[in-house]
């Protein structure tokens, strides 16, 4: 049936959790040989993590034309070179912002069909499943072509292990720099910060937080929890937090496992952005605040007392 290339994504050199479900989807019945491609990250150190899910060879793609990290067009050429080198027929990656970018470029260059945001794959029959209208309907698409490129929605497929022994190797791609793109500056997001839309835990501050400085209270707690910090529209409007932190109708839509709302009234505009959170904990001094009607746990109290107490408790726990 042909080999499958898995476009692996890493975070600080480590394989992201969301890869495993994607690998599981690509593996299907298991009669395909899976090669893991790494652009950024070391094959040797990542091998352990992915061989558990059935990847038999981990290929670290490097380039003689300098750093690939900030150059999507070079990454594209390098990836295509690797695919040709290893005779890859299917390329599967995550429908993340990076995956969507890179896979679309590859598909265009190879003139291959591309399906992103899939929630299930059947590579043998070349059929992918996508969800439409917020999950009301499912579409099964048959893709025609010798090569297929598929993006899998993060966390859509439950990871299943299928251990094997993987080799690790480095593939140095010949990439030409056509000079059409010049990187003048690369800015990373602040180290240690978790992206709101990908976070499992979010702690959000409302207007009662009172100032931008007071957000450090939430930041401290969030660091211990491994959480991202969000803000309500009122807090953003008051200038306490940037718009990139805004959760709600006109900000980010999030769906964490745990959402801690500190000093939020729970307006419908805010709730619209986090209604899919699994567990909502509300901290508010007003017992009539609508947020209590929507939360799983409510703490009636001042966030300036509760949050530091929570931080202390977490510190105690980690030090033990």
């Amino acid at each position: 049936m042909g080999r499958t290339g898995i476009l692996l994504e890493t975070d600080n050199g480590e394989i992201k959790e969301s890869n495993y479900g994607m690998i599981t989807a690509a593996r299907g019945a298991g009669d395909t040989e899976m090669y893991g491609f790494l652009i950024g990250g070391e094959a040797a150190s990542c091998k352990e993590a992915v061989q558990k899910y059935g990847i038999c060879r981990v290929v670290e793609i490097t380039s003689d034309a300098g750093d690939l990290a900030t150059r999507p067009e070079k990454q594209t050429d390098a990836l295509i070179a690797a695919m040709k080198n290893y005779d890859i027929r299917f390329l599967v990656g995550l429908s993340s912002s990076r995956g969507r970018d890179l896979m679309a470029r590859v598909a265009a260059k190879l003139d291959a069909p591309l399906a992103v945001d899939c929630i299930d794959l059947n590579l043998e029959d070349q059929i992918v499943t996508k969800s439409h209208f917020s999950g009301k309907t499912l579409a099964r698409l048959k893709l025609c072509g010798d090569m297929l490129i598929c993006g899998v929605r993060p966390n859509a497929v439950e990871p299943q292990e299928a251990p094997c022994e993987a080799d690790a190797e480095v593939f140095a791609a010949q990439v030409k720099d056509d000079g059409r793109m010049v990187v003048t500056e690369a800015k990373g997001s602040a180290a240690g910060q978790v992206e709101l839309t990908e976070a499992n835990i979010i702690i959000t501050g409302g207007r009662p937080i009172g100032s931008a400085e007071n957000f450090s209270l939430l930041n401290e707690c969030a660091n211990l929890l491994g959480a991202a910090v969000g803000a309500s529209r009122a807090a953003v409007d008051a200038g306490y937090a940037p718009h990139s932190m805004q959760v709600g109708q006109t900000g980010k839509t999030v769906s964490p496992k745990l959402y801690i709302a500190c000093g939020l009234s729970g307006s419908v505009q805010h709730f619209a952005g986090m209604k899919t959170a699994k567990i909502i904990v509300a901290i508010n001094t007003d017992k009539h605040a609508p947020i209590f009607g929507k939360s799983d746990y409510g703490i009636l109290g001042d966030l300036f007392e509760i949050v530091p107490a929570l931080t202390e408790a977490l510190k105690d726990q980690t030090s033990q």
Partner: protein, 667 residues
Amino acid sequence: MHIYILLKSILVTALLIAGFGIFTIRVRRLFRIMKSVKGQADSKVDRPAERIKVLLTDVLGQSNVRRKRMPGLAHTLIFFGFLAVQPHSVELMINGVCPAFHVANIVPGFYGVYLFVADILAFPVLVGLGYAIYRRVIVQPAYLTDGLDARLIILFTSVIIITFYFINAFLTIPSIGGGFDYARYFTISNLVKNIFNLGSLSPAGSRAGYEIAYWLHLLTILGFLVYIPGSKHLHLLAAVPNVFLKPLDRPKAMIKTDIEDEDAETFGLGNVADLNWKNVLDLYACTECGRCEEQCPADMTGKPLSPKRLVHDLKLDLFDQSAKLLKGEFASVEPLLRDGSPLSDDVLWSCTTCRACEEICPVNIQHLDIVLEARKHQVLMESNFPPEMQETFNNLENQSNPWGFSSDTRGDWCKGLDVPLITDHPDADILYYVGCAGSFDDRGIRISRAIVNVLKKADVDFAVLGPEERCNGDMARRAGNEYLAQMMIQEKVEILNQYKPQKILTGCPHCFNTFKNEYSEFGAGYDVVHHSEFLLELTKQKRLKHKESKFEKLTFHDSCYLGRWNGLIEAPRELLRLSGLSRNLIELNRTKTKGLCCGAGGGRMFMEENIGKRINIERAEEIVAAKVPTIAAACPYCTIMLRDGIADLNGTNVVYDIAEIIDMVTV
């Protein structure tokens, strides 16, 4: 002398032909531009009697202009005086060509009376123009366009009036005026003659003076004539037809686009070729008085939108591209939103559709027809809209509410209230249509529950759609997503037609407006009433029992879609007065037809407001400064916006919906 008269006759003839010729060519071009645009206008000349009445009141009565007192008065003075001197000027023109011609020889009595009137009416023009100069030089309101154009027009008009007086002053001298006793009919001209002692001039001197005044007068008029079609003074020509063609009814629907039309190459207003002739007439009619800008909530809070500039910029764009339009080269007409154009995304999306501009416009320009059609084009053709609207559009499409709550929970708000569903009670007198905010927003739910309480107190036979209810499509439509809106409307129409309600009661002015003014076009024209009207009716029928109220001072905040869009200005106030609150009711400065928008209309509720000051803060500041403890609103979106604005200012004023207030003051 004979040679001079002959030469004058030839020269005047030539100048008249040239002046009127150029004027005609320029006006014809304007007319051709108006006919060249592709858009379909639904303006029609119906109800002629009413339209003639409009001409009598709005144009001759100047009632519309005088809504702004001092400038309106100045305009009235200029208007009548300028009109009054015109026949005299025409006579002078004819007389220049044919020196033997004098109206005095034909109808001396009538002519004398006319001169008497014109002589008096002309003077106030100078007073009016003096005021116009005073405003431009001393007062300088920001909304008023000043510049060479405005000053030239004032200069032209002043010269015409001043030379009018000098000509007439000379005419009172028998050697100039001939056999007709001009002095008998003139008042001010006689005064001019005496002040300047013109009577003491030699016959040759007075003749020379007369001729100089004559030529100045004639040349200025002809210059003015040639100048008008290219200036903002085009309103002299376009305002009257525009006022005559104005929509006679206040409520209006958005233009229904035929989205099923398979031959349509484009939807909405993408470039000036997509305008319709009435839009173009609107652009011509604008005189840049700036009243719209003064009222516009976007402009006053520092957004790049000003209705006046929008009209002006669009007019310039139309003229810039008129050569292509006249040649029919529509494909090469540049898009409205393009690099370097003052018309930008932010201009279009800053509009709250509050309609304050249309309301105040003295020449009835329909600004929103332009804004809403331009948005439609951006959304349907360019997929260009504020990114945060994407989620709202998705939610509306999938769950039929802007927040994306599961539509099967739409009826949950009335849990425990024992509200009948229309499926169980199809013969109900009233179908209470709750709306999205009333169904999902906590604040809105409290309002809906208050409405239900009051309905029950008055023993009204009503039912709700519950989980069957859908969004009416207003937000999507005003945000330019006509396709989505029509899809939603279709769905809603089918549901309504299934039950054929006798009367629909809405708790939200947006639902009210859409059902009342837009649904009949989609096959569901039902009797619709907003709760302010309905509760008033119940109060008048004495179906509500009032009790002692705890309210101190309170004020009513007008919802745009209730007041300006549908003229429901007195109903909510009367409701409050009849509910024992007549002594408590005070008015804010910006109220009734000049009420300030809360900032949420036109889909703005679901967009970020990053430019300038927030509109709800602007309104909240007024409320906090007025020290009025209670604000009555009649729209759930106003309630939310005002509450948030007041909270931002740490104000203690409380916003209630009128239904909540009525619920509190009744038993």
